[in-house]
Symmetry: C3
Subunit: 402 residues, 3 copies
């Protein structure tokens, strides 16, 4: 029993290590050291230092709020179809930011098709709608919806009020129906509007919270600054035209039919005290297709409702505009022992490649390869007689059966 | 000094390689080769080729805009409580998409409880509210808020106008208070509404931007197409009923109480020129619980305000409807030498498993295990006398002390 | 030919294994076993069991809808500037949740600057705007926009109606212009408002969908419960004051100027049947900077439009309030053989560190290091004469050239 125990303990206190063939060869040694140097350089220089392999990284959580400033002036005097929006008219942010706030996005109306004073009733359908042209009442099916149109047919064929000399089906709808022609943008000073973007990022693992407005920033500077890629890259106030220009777009073209612009805020943060840095970088790019085959640009319809003479009226807006989508990306890193060891470990593993490559050189390329092969390999033959086995115990290196 | 230098250089130009015991055994050799084959097959076939282990992958950034089309008809003639919305009434997207745009989502009203012509004043609280039934004024505490109710009590007990023969506390509130009974859906043609989803994904590392509307698509096809899983899986125009059907829901049931439907757009892109593919796949699923114990379905209240007789009035809508949430997921991959080497490297490491397993067979299973063990192991004993050590130098393989 | 084939097959059925030097040394053996124990403990205990290294993990997709309840009472009687909002006035969710719904966020107005009955016209600019004070008409440039102001100058210098005895430039604008002074919060009962948060998370790889409202929950309990970190951590109904308190903020201070509060829902789910758990954890934190140098707090402007005397009027609201942003995070895990093998494999690789460290001890530290070195290394010299080579075949271990 005690003997057995002793044996177990004995076998526990052993230690196995590979037998190493140590070759003194300038040629192969040089190759070996060069490959090792390259691998160590790659691990230390590239993986650990350049790629910061000693850091634990985390993607940030983000919250974005935006605030637009600016007013625009239109003068639609003389245009009979704008009884409410005619004459000198000033638009401010409550008028052109629709809806007043969104999560990670904001929309600025750049152009509008206004259909004022609509009320429920019957009127001629727009002649642009498919299959609504008619010559007599029989062409119009009562209560059939006009395809992609404004309402349901009454069954009557009436003269169009949008195009002279044409007869169209009459519809139940919000009347009069919208005259869908995109006018030239009416907001000339829109490009000078500014938007303040407030962005908070959080790295919960590191307990760090950062904002794009530095807490120690000079208030007066902040109030008057405007973002510029070169001279003022940290100012959180952006002129709309600056944004579209950085995205490679012409503001006026974009304003005509609308579009979607991405504002990308990249936070690449290093929270180690020696290399501490955590500043946002802003970049801009157009997200929708300027040359899309259908539904080019960006627009949507919304309405303001009011009651006149005890009847519900609405003003319908087809709002063209630029939708700005704010995307926050990046990562924060801080020293941590786990990734460091992981990278060092995989580096150690890679070092075995040097041995594999040198083995190839030594065993297959060098003139004296046979000699080295005999040194590296100890040949054991399964079916060899006991004598061979015994001989091996003397010769140590069994030779290939010749 | 020179000698020392030479020694250092000498030791640098050495090269260590493991001594290998080369065993010629058909049985073990076969096992060895089979395991190696399995591992190489796994690495090359599964990891590298099937799982595209030679690719760097990136998740896309996405932007989504939506546009709804369709009109619906209601006829509430004769209903005295709908002075503004009574009679033939056509609803278009400006009426039922609330708010007119959202980031990555859209809401379509399918049913509404309309409380028209509310104004600030005093009126009987709704009898559905807890603890508002009363018999005399003392039951109602002045200025106490009714729990989950519509306003603040005036301290009077008055007859209910919603339920005959019952007395309830009077409240300061928007009067009359809402009669909260869900009517049957009034928008019969809603299921035929269509939504155009425009989705852009970007893979900044690869400098690639893709859209779900192919730039070379045929415009006329696009304008008339409708998404169908089998016949038209790339059409970006979706009938609402198709979406709910794919999500396994009955449209009419869903429309009655509202709900939340997820539209998932999956982009699995391969940017290598030979296998280039990058097309969106659409899938749909209901996100809220159809059998939730509380707050079943989806609805919210909003109001339109207007001034009548110099007093502020509002029309209160309790809008039931389907909230569609668009989620974009997937990844793009492109050949990169770093992940390829990483996977090959870990494959090489795995190959050592073949040796470990064969060692087990050779050293513990085979009949001649003792013989192989003597070949593989060179026994060294710490406390052996110098003679043992010397003997070792002759015999090379030290034997276990018998 | 047949001989060649046989040779190839022979060489395929070989098997290489490292020659191992087996050292019986209590000291080194102990070190070796301790290091091995530490590594195995780390792999099995920490990586596999504690960190659940046997699980495949996935981040959830999420959808959030919210529903607010509560009413608030204001009494602005006697204030001439509130013709529409004066007197006893009850605000409900349709009034203070703006817009009525957002994706993953909601806004509750806590304070408002109401500018009623604005219409397009000319009026004195607000004296707070830079560079609008004037002494005569020449100071005001016709059609110049006032910087961060309300409109475009008419060219006239008129007495201010907001500050006695001061003359300012007249502007085309929505008149009268806003008097931008933040009043004290008018919604005293706001802190008692409750919000029901409905959150669905999905783990598509596992085919699992979870909701923060348990399907087997007791309906009556759910209807009356309120979230409390300690006593009711799973109730999905939150009092606004509880949220701000958990975020370390004073509700009244926050309500005065507005702010942004993050509601973080963390799902850490284990889908293995033995350890099954999947419950949300709620946490709260303030996202904006309470001490920001500019644009402190959170507010935005929106307007209600109405027609009076055939003229468009609007009521402008500068809504201060708390924006709640809901972020869903966490992960789900389920047993999978791939990560298990990956972790076991890397553990095996780490075991070689034990050998490396013991080698250092054996070869450089121990008294008998020279002896062990000779055992471990077989010295081969490139330029040795054939005799050395021959001698090696006898002595097996080549000695260092003395």
């Amino acid at each position: 029993m005690a003997a057995c125990c002793g044996k177990v303990i004995d076998s526990l206190l052993e230690y196995n290590t590979s037998k190493i063939v140590h070759i003194k060869s300038k040629k192969v040694g040089l190759i070996n050291r060069l490959i090792q140097l390259a691998i160590i350089g790659y691990i230390i220089g590239y993986v650990i230092i350049y790629k910061k392999g000693y850091q634990e990284v985390e993607k940030p959580y983000s919250s974005v709020t935006t605030k637009l400033k600016g007013t625009s002036f239109t003068n639609l005097t003389g245009n009979e179809s704008f009884p409410l929006y005619g004459g000198p008219f000033v638009w401010d942010q409550a008028d052109y930011v629709i809806p007043p706030e969104e999560n990670d996005a904001f929309f600025v109306a750049t152009n509008m098709v206004i259909t004022p004073d609509q009320r429920q009733g019957t009127c001629p359908e727009s002649p642009d709608i498919a299959n609504v042209k008619c010559t007599r009442d029989e062409n119009c099916t009562r209560m059939e919806e006009t395809s992609y149109g404004h309402g349901f047919q009454t069954g009557k064929c009436v003269p169009s009020d949008q195009e002279k000399g044409i007869k169209v089906c009459e519809v139940f709808a919000w009347c009069p129906v919208e005259l869908d022609i995109t006018p030239m943008p009416q907001f000339p000073s829109l490009k000078n509007f500014t938007v303040l973007i407030k962005n908070t990022v959080q790295f919960p693992s590191f307990g760090v919270s950062k904002r794009n407005i530095a807490p120690d920033a000079d208030t007066s500077t902040l109030k008057s600054c405007q973002y510029d890629k070169d001279t003022s890259p940290l100012c959180p106030i952006f002129r709309l035209e600056t944004i579209t220009k950085e995205a490679g777009q012409d503001f006026n073209k974009l304003a005509y039919k609308g579009g979607v612009i991405g504002i990308i805020i990249t936070w690449n943060c290093d929270f180690d005290s020696l290399l501490y840095s955590c500043k946002p970088v802003y970049s801009f790019r157009r997200l929708d297709n300027a040359n899309a085959p259908i539904a080019k640009g960006y627009n949507f319809r919304h309405a303001n409702y009011y009651v006149k003479n005890d009847t519900l009226h609405r003003t319908l807006f087809k709002a063209y505009g630029i939708r700005f989508v704010v995307t926050v990306t990046g990562q924060g890193g801080k020293f941590n022992v786990v990734p460091l060891f992981l990278n060092l470990g995989s580096g150690l593993a890679l070092l075995s490649i040097a041995t594999v490559l040198c083995d190839v050189v030594v065993l297959y390329v060098l003139r004296r390869k046979e000699f080295y092969r005999e040194k590296k390999y100890q040949y054991v033959v399964e079916n060899s007689s006991d004598e061979v086995s015994n001989r091996n115990q003397h010769d140590t290196i069994s030779k290939k059966p010749s």
